[in-house]
C-alpha cells in the first residue's frame, strides 16, 4: 500500500531514484537474511553474487545482444549453480571461518571483475546496458523503474515469508539452533544449507541484473567488500530472521547517506558507530528493538500511573 502511494507524492524527483535503490537493497537484504537470519550462516561476500548477476546480465545483453528478459534468468541460473558448487565445501565451515571464506570469495570475484577487462571493461565499468522492456513500455525513467523493482521486491518478500513459515523454514531454524540436533532429527543439514546458499545467491543475482538494467552502467567499485559489509549492516540493524526487518535496514541505510550528505567526512564514523551501538543495545535489530522500546516506555508510564 505504502509502495503504491509513494510516487505521486514525490513527483519524479531525485527521491524516486533513491527509492529504487531501497527496493534493490531490500531484495539483497532479504537474500542475505535468509542465509544469515534463518539458517545462521555468515556471509561477508554477498556483494559478489550481486555483482555476478549484474555483470552476467550486462555482458549478455551488450556484447551478445541477448534480450534482457532472457539474460536475467540465465545469469541467475549460472550464479545459482556456482553457489551450489562452492556451497558444498564452504558450508562445511562454521562461524568465523565461514565469514572469512565468504569474504575471500567476495574479494576474488571483485578482483576478477577488475581484471577481465575484455569482458567487463575492467575498472572503467560497463556502459550501455539496455533498459528492460515489457509490452511496449521501456523502463527508462525512475518512476517506471520504481514500480518494476518494487513489484519484484514485494514478490520476493512474499516468497520469503512463505518459505520461513514452511517446513523448509522450520528446518532452517533447527539447523541454526543446533546443526547436530537437526541432523539427528533427520534434517539433511548439508544439502539444506547449500540449497539456501544457492537460493540466496540467485535472489542476489536477480537484484544485480535489475540493478544493471536500471543504472545502464556498472563498475566493480559497487560490488566490493564495502558493499558486502553494508548489506550485513542492513540485515543486522533491521533484524535477523525478519523479512520486514530487512526492509527497515535497507531503507535506513540507503536513506541515511542522503541525510548525512552535509556531514561529508563524518558519515563513515556514524556508520561504524551505528554498527557497534546496534549490536550492543539492540541485538535483535530495529524490528524487535523499537517495539521493545515502546513497551518499556509504556510499562514505565503504567508504573507511575499506579503510585
Amino acid at each position: 500500500m505504502l509502495v503504491i502511494v509513494a510516487p505521486p507524492l514525490f513527483k519524479g524527483g531525485y527521491l524516486m531514484n533513491v527509492l529504487v535503490f531501497v527496493g534493490i537493497n531490500t531484495m539483497l537484504a532479504i537474500a542475505l537474511n535468509l542465509l544469515l537470519g534463518y539458517a545462521g550462516q555468515i556471509s561477508l561476500g554477498h556483494a559478489g553474487f550481486f555483482g555476478l548477476g549484474a555483470y552476467l546480465s550486462g555482458i549478455l545483453t551488450t556484447t551478445y545482444g541477448l534480450n534482457p528478459w532472457a539474460a536475467m534468468p540465465a545469469a541467475a541460473g549460472v550464479v545459482g549453480c556456482l553457489a551450489g558448487l562452492i556451497g558444498f565445501p564452504i558450508l562445511k565451515l562454521k562461524g568465523h571461518y565461514l565469514a572469512m571464506a565468504t569474504l575471500g570469495l567476495g574479494i576474488i570475484i571483485y578482483i576478477v571483475f577488475n581484471e577481465t577487462v575484455e569482458f567487463t571493461g575492467g575498472p572503467s565499468g560497463l556502459s550501455g546496458i539496455p533498459n528492460l522492456q515489457l509490452a511496449g513500455i521501456t523502463f527508462d525513467s525512475d518512476v517506471k523503474n520504481y514500480y518494476l523493482i518494487w513489484g519484484v521486491t514485494l514478490a520476493v518478500m512474499l516468497f520469503s515469508l512463505n518459505l520461513a513459515n514452511s517446513r523448509v523454514g522450520r528446518a532452517l531454524r533447527a539447523v541454526h539452533d543446533s546443526e547436530v540436533a537437526a541432523q539427528v532429527l533427520g534434517v539433511n543439514s548439508r544439502i539444506l544449507k547449500v540449497q539456501i546458499f544457492a537460493l540466496s545467491a540467485v535472489i542476489s543475482s536477480l537484484a544485480g541484473s535489475l540493478y544493471a538494467h536500471t543504472m545502464t552502467f556498472i563498475s566493480p567499485a559497487s560490488f566490493g567488500f564495502n558493499f558486502s559489509i553494508e548489506l550485513l549492516t542492513m540485515v543486522v540493524i533491521g533484524g535477523l530472521g525478519s523479512v520486514f526487518g530487512s526492509f527497515l535496514g535497507a531503507a535506513l541505510l540507503t536513506l541515511l547517506p542522503e541525510f548525512l550528505r552535509g556531514a561529508n567526512d563524518y558519515d563513515i564514523i556514524i556508520y561504524g558507530a551505528l554498527l557497534v551501538v546496534m549490536v550492543m543495545f539492540m541485538p535483535g535489530g530495529l524490528v524487535r528493538g523499537i517495539p521493545a522500546l515502546f513497551r518499556k516506555i509504556a510499562a514505565r508510564k503504567g508504573e507511575t500511573g499506579h503510585a
Binding site: 581484471e115 575498472p123 563498475s219
Partner: protein
Amino acid sequence: MNFKVMSFIIAAATLLFSATVFAAPPIKIGALFAVTGPAAFLGEPERNSAKMVIDEINKAGGVKGRKLELVAYDTTGDATKAVQLATKLIKDDKVVAIIGPSTTGETMAVIPVVEKEQIPLISCSAGSKITDPVKKWVFKTAQNDSLAVGRIYEYLQKTKQTNVSILTVSDGFGASGREQLKNQAAKYGITIVSDDTYGPKDTDMTAQLTKIRGVHSQAIICWGTNPGPAVIAKNARQLGIKTPLFMSHGVSSKKFIELAGDAAEGIKLPSGKVVVADLLPGSDRQKKSLMAFVKDYQKHYKAEGDHFGGHAWDAVMLIRNAVENGADSAAAIRDQLEKTRGFAGIGGSFTYSAQEHAGLGKDAFVLVEVKNKDWAIVK
C-alpha cells in the same frame, strides 16, 4: 522529518550563505567532485579551486549582474553515486551546467544522464574517450591522456629509446592510460616489450619490477596516481634498476616528490604548465593566469595550487565566459562553450568547436624532470 522539507531547508541555507540580495536570481552551477575517497587528491583541489574562483567572480560583482552559485556534491569517487547526484543536481537543484566529475569512470557513467536531460557537462577527468567520439553536451578541461602519452612517446622517439616496459594501475585512470600507450605505440615507432599491472592499494611492486628488469627495456613507463608510483620509484631504486623511469601526469604534484624521496630524482613526466609556472618564459600566453592561480590558491588554502585544481578553475571560467556572452540557459551555455577560441586557462589554451570538445592541443603538456626535489623543464 519530510525529506522535501529537509532539502528545502538545506537549499535555503545554501542560498543564505551565498552573500547578499540581488536583482536577478543567481546562476546555479552544479559540481560533482570526488572530495573524499581514493580520488580525493583530484576532488579536493578541484572543489577548492571552483569555490575560490566563484567567490572572486561574485566579489567583483558577478557576471552580467548575476552571481554564480556553486552546488557541489561529493561523489567519493563512486560512479554510481555520481550518477545519482547528477540526477539530483538536475532534477532537484535545477542547475544549468555541471562541472566534473573528477574521474573518467564517473564521467562515463554520468554522460548518458546529461545527454538525456540536456545539461552541459564540463568534466575534469583525463580519459580521451570522454570526448572522442564527440557528444553534444559533454566537454572536458583536463588534458587528454592521449596527449600525455604522445608527449612521452615523442621524447622517447627523439632519444631513440623505443623498447619500453609499461606498468599501469588497475583502475580507470591506469586502464585508460594503458589503452593509449598501446594504441599510440606504432605511430611513434615504440615497441612495448612488457605489460604489467598493479593494484591501487599495493605496497610492493618488486615482483613486477624484477620481471621488467629481466626484459632489458630502454624505458619504463608507469601510469598511476599516488602512492603507487612513489612505491615503484623506491622499489626500482632498491632493485638497482638504471633504466629511465617515466611517470604519468597523475603524479605531477609535490606530493610525489615527497613520497618518493631520493628515488624521484631524474624521473620525467608530462605535466600541465602550472607546476613550473615560474620557470616559463615571459612570452608564454598562460604564464599570467598560471601565476595568479598559484598565488591565489596559496593565499586561500595555504597549499600549492596544482594542475588538478586548475581543471575546475578552467571549467568555471569557461562557463563564466559563456554567460558573459549572453547565455543563461543550459542550451545557450552549451552553444557558447562551443564558440570558445583560444581561452588561456590553467590547463592550456582552449579552443572548442562542434567537432572538438576536448579543446587542448599538444602545448597543454610540458615534459618535466625531478631535479633537486623540484621540477625542471626538459628541453
